[in-house]
Amino acid sequence: MSAPDPSAVDALRRDVRGWLERALDPGWRTRMTGATTAEFVAFQREWMHSLVAAGYATPHWQAGWPGGGRSLAEQRVIAEEMARADAPRLMLYFVSLYHAALTLMEWGSEAQKARHLPAILQGEVWCQGFSEPNAGSDLASLRTRAERHGSVYRVNGQKIWSTLAHHADYCLLLVRTDTSGPKQAGISFLLMDMRSKGVTVRPIRQITGDEEFGEIFLDDVEVPVSNRLGAENEGWRVAQTTLTSERGITILELSERLHHARRRLAALLAGDDGRGGDDQYRRELVQVCARIEALRGLVAELMAEIESGQASIAKAAFVKLFYARVLREFTDLALRAAGPDAQRLAPLVLAGGHETGNWMADYMNSFVWSIAGGSNEIQRNIIAERVLGMPRDAAVAR
């Protein structure tokens, strides 16, 4: 990664902005409102191919790969411009482009990288098989078993909360290969073909009616030993790469989207019919905007830490917890201000982000952020114990 040259970064911003004006269908939200699964997948594929062709899908990849080798400052500019243009989120390929690609780049053999990285650029869809029904916040207690039989692992168990698993070609799978030692020590990391015999995927219907997550049932699934990433029983370390692969860019984009979405909220509060146009809601809007500013400030501090190679546990936990809160406050205000209109069942805006204007759905979706990716409670434990130095609870097994 080369040091960012300010004029080059400005030039990139102009390029991305100009490209978005040409490449982005301004009516995409209308197209994705109440879209079928097939229409969603087709649109994601189309947007993915446009971004890959323009070189904007993979700025975080290593130099040498198409679109790769961008500095963090450049990655940030691309994310900011996507948020500013209100572009669709590339949800179907998120795990592929970040989790799978970056884990493969760090831990993959040459053969594994050659097999998968070009395929990801072509649109190979990946999902993550980490969480289990009894291993959520306490991920290391996972129990999906992999037993070695010659050149294959035979895998049995169940995974859950796997984003868009029902569309996936491959899975980043954490399995238990040893039960004798500490729970983190007996985990291995496999790359599993989702079309293998014994894999059953069942989408989970969420409170919004959408099916973004899935369950994966594994019944004597055979995964070649050559599809293991890293050494046997070293999977926990590999998984740390996966879990930290986003490097702040996602939260940057989301906080910028929240900033731009103030306009959608302000328009609601100043509705022509007078609805929501009262002083109390306007005062609440000001308070939410003050918190969005604080969020953007925190995210800027996180990015600066990452850029200088000194990312702290504190900042990442503060940002995760604070974003979840502000998003809840934002959608909660919109929901209350919209009144009975927001109670009418309305179609979802697929890949439309977290502030789509379907305020009841947006409010419900805000729980994804307070639960997934280390719940608010886990973030609070991290802050209390690792930042504030408060003692661990002696009764909790680690």
Binding site: P26, G27, W28, R29, T30, R84, D86, H260, A261, R262, R263, R264, A266, A270, D279, R282, R283, L285, V286, Q287, C289, A290, R291, E293, A294, L295, R296, G297, L298, A300, E301, A314, K315, A317, F318, L321, F322, R325, E377, Q379, R380, N381, I382, I383, A384, E385, V387, L388, G389, M390, P391, R392, D393, A394
Partner: protein
């Protein structure tokens, strides 16, 4: 003129911490402490070099106020800093009167604090015999008051009045927060001498008032975050020592999570303050709005931390001897400076909605 050499905010904070600790140990009289602060350059810090100050950026000024805010401080540094910012601006625009008063303030010959900076509240017309500015922080120890008003002939005006006799009557008030030294201020408009008291009128006054309000917001935010951070740290130290049911109360998750939430609020509000100061230092037109938003975040964080700190200390926190109540009172009184929170929110809403409407339209 050359760019002033920049002080390191961290070094400044260390020095300030040392100075305040020494002052406390020596039990310095309030007047002596104020002079010590002036000698250390604390009021001159953000004043431009052209006007006889140290020309440091707002980021550095906020860092100092954060440090000072760690112990509820009886000195009028917040208010005097905002007043000095206005006089500095007017002095650079050529007002000899402003320069003279600023020199007096920096040298300690005068103690100049801010009155109301919301001119809508103080219509100044010939037929109104007097106006009540209400309880003004530090007016009881001020020699001069700088405040905004509106008058029929000149529109928005910025006035500076001496506290001794004349047009100004200041009656000291006791407040729950003993650090603010409130004075009830009455302006006798009949004896107001425009030649000596008028600092600026019309557009010039508007610009100075806007800057004064922004600096006041940032100064209060800095002080609030210093107070919030200090009382939260002290609370956690206490919780790590206090043993109940055979373990320190700091190990109870119900309390840990509350501390984590508070630490998050303080970190976020601090980030907002840093952004707002940077906007101010870059002279961005949206800086006053950013400052007002930063103050909202800091004020809410200070109130939340002070409230929870008292609760988590339990009975000891309810005693006069313990410092908890000083933070609680200061956090609450800070929220009322320059008008109620609701009034501030309404004022910000108009500006904010203007900014938001000016942005490009989102896809539908």
């Amino acid at each position: 003129m050359d760019e002033p050499s920049l002080l390191d905010p961290a070094e400044l904070r260390d020095a300030a911490r040392g100075l305040l600790a020494a002052a406390e140990a020596q039990e310095l009289a309030p007047e002596t402490l104020w002079n010590t602060m002036l000698e250390a350059g604390w009021l001159a810090l953000g004043v431009s070099e052209d006007s006889g100050g140290l020309g440091q950026p707002m980021l550095t000024v906020a860092a100092l106020l954060e440090e000072v805010g760690r112990r509820p401080c009886t000195q009028p540094l917040i208010s005097a800093t905002a007043a000095a910012a206005m006089l500095d601006l007017l002095s650079r625009q050529g007002s000899a009167q402003a320069r003279e008063l600023l020199d007096a303030a920096l040298s300690g010959r005068a103690r100049v604090v801010c009155g109301d900076l919301d001119p809508a509240c103080a219509p100044l017309a010939g037929f109104v015999p007097s106006i009540v500015l209400g309880d003004v922080p530090h007016a009881a120890v001020a020699t001069h008051l700088v405040f905004a008003a509106k008058c029929a002939q000149r529109g928005e005006v910025l006035l500076a009045l001496a506290g001794e006799g004349g047009a100004l009557q200041i009656e000291p008030q006791s407040g729950w927060d003993e650090t603010r030294q409130y004075g009830r201020v009455v302006v006798n408009t009949a004896s107001l001498d425009a030649a000596t008291s008028l600092m600026a009128a019309a557009a010039g006054a508007g610009e100075a008032i806007r800057r004064g309000r922004a600096v006041l917001d940032l100064a209060i935010a800095g002080d609030s975050l210093g107070g919030a951070a200090a009382v939260l740290e002290a609370t956690i130290v206490y919780m790590k020592q206090r043993v109940q049911f055979g373990r320190t109360i700091a190990s109870f998750q119900a309390l840990k999570h509350r501390c984590a939430d508070l630490a998050t609020e303080v970190a976020a509000a601090r980030a907002a303050l840093m952004r707002a100061c940077a906007a101010m230092d870059a002279d961005r037109p949206d800086a006053p709005l950013r400052a007002a938003l930063a103050r909202l975040a800091a004020g809410a964080a200070y109130c939340a931390v002070a409230d929870e700190a008292l609760q988590m200390h339990g009975g000891i926190g309810f005693t006069w001897e313990h410092a908890c109540h000083r933070y609680l009172k200061r956090a609450r009184s800070a929220e009322t400076i320059g008008g109620s929170r609701a009034a501030r929110l309404d004022a910000i809403a108009a500006e904010l909605l203007g900014e938001i409407r000016g942005e490009r339209i989102l896809a539908t």
